[in-house]
Symmetry: D2
Subunit: 382 residues, 4 copies
């Protein structure tokens, strides 16, 4: 398989910077592959693109150079100081590939520029395929608009310069127009509008999403099936998330938090088979930086109505958890592109809090679907 | 399907009493079926014996009558007071079926008496099948003996009155000789000796075990596969179990605790695929009664070596968690008997900390195996 | 010392019912005195009114009789079933002393009726002193009104039938006019208005408040001084409270929750000596009933900037924690009345989340102040 | 006040290295004074020796130079990398002052050498006073010996070269003979033998101990008084400590763990006023390094027997918690020397798990005693 481009929307953010440091560090054999799902023995032999053949670029409106951002993450303990020091030149090279993103307010007119950025990237680095991954800050839920229902209406509105799409969706349009696959790693709107789905179908391009499943929701997606299999009735499932960092600051905005809470809350009824009281909080605690602490309290009922409970505390580094999944998704979407898969890719639900076009949230079922898809292809010799 | 006998070794203990109260309460339609795995939609239609057709009896050396034991459990909040009050007569009926167990020291000579008790039970209540479940106190690991290796040597030793087997194994011999299935719900030796396996094979009887998976180990069996699927490296997994009640008192004896710790600790390397530092404590805290509190601390490493951790606290009522599984196992072993299955039943590993003849500890894989086995039967129309 | 009346506003609520059951049970020698602060050896000999000489009455708008409310609490595990059964007659006697409270909307005109209820209670039971304790549902913060600043303006407004005071304050006016001491055990307005303070001073009556310190805030009031004494810098202190029951339902109303959050949040800067990020949530989880689960996460910095953290989970029964303190406060305010103390009683801050007229929130300093005050009196022979 | 020497037994261990880095960093104004108790406003003005006037030296049998040890601690996140880099020369200077410690087996004959080391240190750096602090690895409980009861017998045995004392006690003898104060920061025997107490008294020298109160026990010492003041009855208090690092490795030896458990467990009955079931574990989990995670579960009973519980998890860096206390104790013992105080110093119990010559374990009472003692001196103008 030939070279693949990984194009990050929000390329200087914490997740993208960590993913970039990680990709470069793995290419330089400075670190192992812990946290890379596609390195799991069940997937590793499946003909995915070699990590050495992945080239990173991206869009961002932030200007702090990548080497500096990587140092900041090293100071915060997210990535090792020594690795960042060893990769200073490589990080500067990636930084030079980062193109200006969409300024807030500046919208429809710029899709062509974004498309051109992607084509230039592909041409300059002779990339056979490019996967665009949105890892920028979470947006508020999008305003509804009549043009969202149909791709022709939408294209007309865009051509007329109307502010009809949020930024995440504009990037997805650009990705499709440039012939790239698209991944929504955030709960922003992205490609999840009927008109954009039609566009992807028309262009025969694959996409996946949304909202990376990295912490509390990941744990939920194994614990809830446990209660279900044992026929123990969950009576309430309360959750608190404390996080600082850029993501925390964004989510301190109630509008953006709403996107996140919708995304996080969705799976529980599907996992349990019934509705359950499940208050969920996200608190911005700047002091915690990239480390997220989640506490969940599950009250459940067993035989003869006996009341019991389970609590867990998760103390994880969000960027370190998300970054390898982002690289995994680049490899997996590149495989989908190689196979000519088109439209949403529900078999990648393993990676997402709010998986597109599937109601399956149980991690082990998602894992089975993922492995079957990856291997199937290999077996049938695509 | 006709009537099935559930014969409990330790019939006046907390688990058996709770199971008995529960079985009677479900028969009387006083309570629902929360906690009964065999009531799960994926299993309920599979032709298992109707709960109304289960008759309870057992052996015990304790003398406190079952109605009194049930009241004690009600006072401790394990079973509802109103349910116990409503079932006073039915509990007294079951109590009348409980036969004296083996006194410590009194051993080989009594197998015949035990066998006769089982035959009388079957005859009197016109039971088509009987399942014997060991829910008595955990024994220390058995002393090795040459006769354990071969059934002929063993039978000769037993015939000679030699004290060659621990009580749990003597009960299993009696069960087999009486044509019953046997379940080891504790970590005691029970049927897990080569000579006894040979006996079960020779007599064509099914058995399952061992050590019911009810709390901390249950949670482990979904969390560890999560770490594995995400390629996150567990660095240490430390556990503390606080429990009072009869089980706690037994486990305060270091010898018995050793049986339990061996049983609890076994699954982690199988689940993760590598060895990991996993100190594990069981503390007897009389104050806690039947409620068990377990705290686990999992330290793990993610992308680029970043260190994170997960803690959980489980506050469960051991008897209320174990009791429905005991009834489930009676129904499932009755099915195995009906089908003429012989020998160990590894497809029932879902229920056990230390599943016999399988290295699979992941709950979801165990669930798949269980469902496949139960349904297979149904499909093929046994 | 002669007989003392305990008059509860909200006399059929969970806290008052638990306090009433407890008082009667202690008088009947059915239970011990665990949880009673005034039974502590440092206070017990201080000449407080004998518990046998306390007579309970109250106001409420709820109609469920006290024996029924007590049964409901017994079913919920808050009070022992056997104790409630043994006290059925005594509870009915207390229930007969409960007078109708203020209906929402019905306000100023009824103060006279409330005053008369209190006088009748005192006369009928020959009580030397009466202490009124507000344990009714939390109100939203009161609307400001010009008449709150001066007792003459307030009395004119009340005389004119203006709706100038919230219910909790109307009860406090009635208490003062009837010559009773008053305790605010909730975060409602109660006596905490300048005009009402003036009234208490003019009438020479003691009062205390507010908002009983029973759970998370209690723990905070010993942990925060620990960090301060060790010169460890708290960087954030995040708290989540899950509670069901009547109090939870009330606090599900954001306006009432605001009263509570203000009351809970106040102490931390005083305890630490600096401001700290301290997000605090109260979630209504009906499933939990009277049991409150609080989780706090404290991030702190030690020597050379090293970051560490402390988490705690508190699982307590709110009514069982509050009830003995309510009885303690009756005894302590009766002592204040006996001594002729007038105005706010800051030396009782030990009992409150938001102690009146003191900035001391550290539990041990509050304890010292309490013991000194109680003993001082005894020593000087009042 | 003139210059003071801080002489660490175990000078290249984690605690001493962290303390040394910290002292040098504070002298160089590279860091603030978080974690230094003697920097608390209530103590800071009390005439303690200026930190700039403290000179560090010590004994150790380990050979890894201090700058290297400091780098290792920086890699483990215990001290900041930048601080260690800036202090390379200063650390090398301190390293040059570290003298060889007692080799295991080599015992009584070497006291003179140790004494000479201390005298040389004092002379070379013109130190007015020297405080010796034992921060070396925990020893097993000492073997009893008849000579421990009387100083004359002991000195005769030492003169005869008998192996009558453990190493920690030999260091304390050397300290006293050299005219230094002595601090037991570990649970080892140190000065806590009648004969050694007599020696300290005879020589008129002050000493303090033992076993620094840095984590779980610190939290206990504020929570237990909370339960006591509220008359809530603790029914069980279970604790688990996970720790790696050198201290963890030492405590993996059951004999040494026994010293620690005795030291940790002592306070609870004193704090509560009654005995309580309190199982306590220390587990060596190498993966955790210097970070200690403790989980405590407290089951308690409130009004009318209602059962509740409190759990806490403490995640702290042991060396970072201990190091500032070690420096505090140097300053405080120097003050005791300056005042001519002789014998044990129970007013320093604030710092210790097992405070000498006092049964007071409540942190706030210990704090009051400390402040009173420090200020008293100031007031009386020493």
């Amino acid at each position: 398989m030939s070279r693949v481009g990984a194009w990050f929307i929000g390329a200087r953010g914490s997740v993208a910077t960590t993913a970039t440091v990680g990709a470069l560090a793995m290419q330089a054999r400075l670190v192992g592959r812990t946290g890379m799902v596609t390195d799991h023995p069940d997937l590793a032999e499946a003909g995915l693109v070699d990590l050495d053949d992945v080239v990173v670029g991206g869009h961002d409106i932030a200007c702090t150079p990548l080497p500096k951002r990587a140092e900041m993450l090293a100071d915060a303990g997210v990535v090792p100081t020594s690795v960042v020091a060893a990769l200073r030149d490589e990080l500067a090279e990636v930084d030079a590939r980062i193109r200006p993103g969409l300024q807030p307010g500046e919208e429809a007119p710029d899709i062509d520029r974004l498309v051109q950025d992607l084509r230039d990237f592909r041409d300059r680095y002779r990339l056979e395929r490019v996967v665009v991954v949105n890892v920028s800050s979470t947006e508020p839920p999008a305003q509804e608009h009549a043009a969202h229902a149909d791709v022709r209406d939408l294209e007309a509105a865009l051509a007329a310069g109307e502010p009809v799409l949020p930024a995440s969706s504009l990037y997805s349009v650009a990705a499709l127009r440039a012939g790239c696959a698209f991944v929504d790693f955030t709960p922003s709107t992205g490609l999840r509008l009927p008109a954009l789905r039609q566009l992807a179908d028309r262009l025969g391009l694959p996409w996946a999403g949304s909202d990376g499943k990295t912490g509390e929701t990941l744990v939920k997606s194994v614990l809830a099936p446990m209660f279900a299999a044992r026929n123990l009735r969950v009576r309430s499932w309360s959750g608190t998330n404390l996080l600082g960092g850029g993501d925390g600051a964004t989510l301190a905005d109630p509008a953006a938090a709403q996107s996140k809470s919708i995304s996080k809350g969705g799976g529980l009824p599907a996992l349990l088979g019934y509705d359950v009281d499940s208050p969920l909080h996200i608190d911005y605690v700047p002091d915690l930086g990239d480390w997220k602490t989640a506490w969940d309290h599950v009250s459940f009922e067993g035989f003869l109505g006996t009341r019991m409970n389970l609590q867990f505390t998760w103390q994880g580094c969000d960027s370190a958890l998300a970054a390898p999944l982002v690289i995994d998704l680049v490899r997996l979407l590149a495989l989908a592109l190689a196979r000519g898969s088109s439209g949403s890719q529900p078999q990648l639900g393993f990676f997402f809090k709010d998986p597109v076009d599937t109601s399956e949230h149980a991690l082990h079922e998602q894992w089975r679907a993922l492995v079957a898809w990856v291997r199937d292809v290999e077996v049938t010799g695509s």
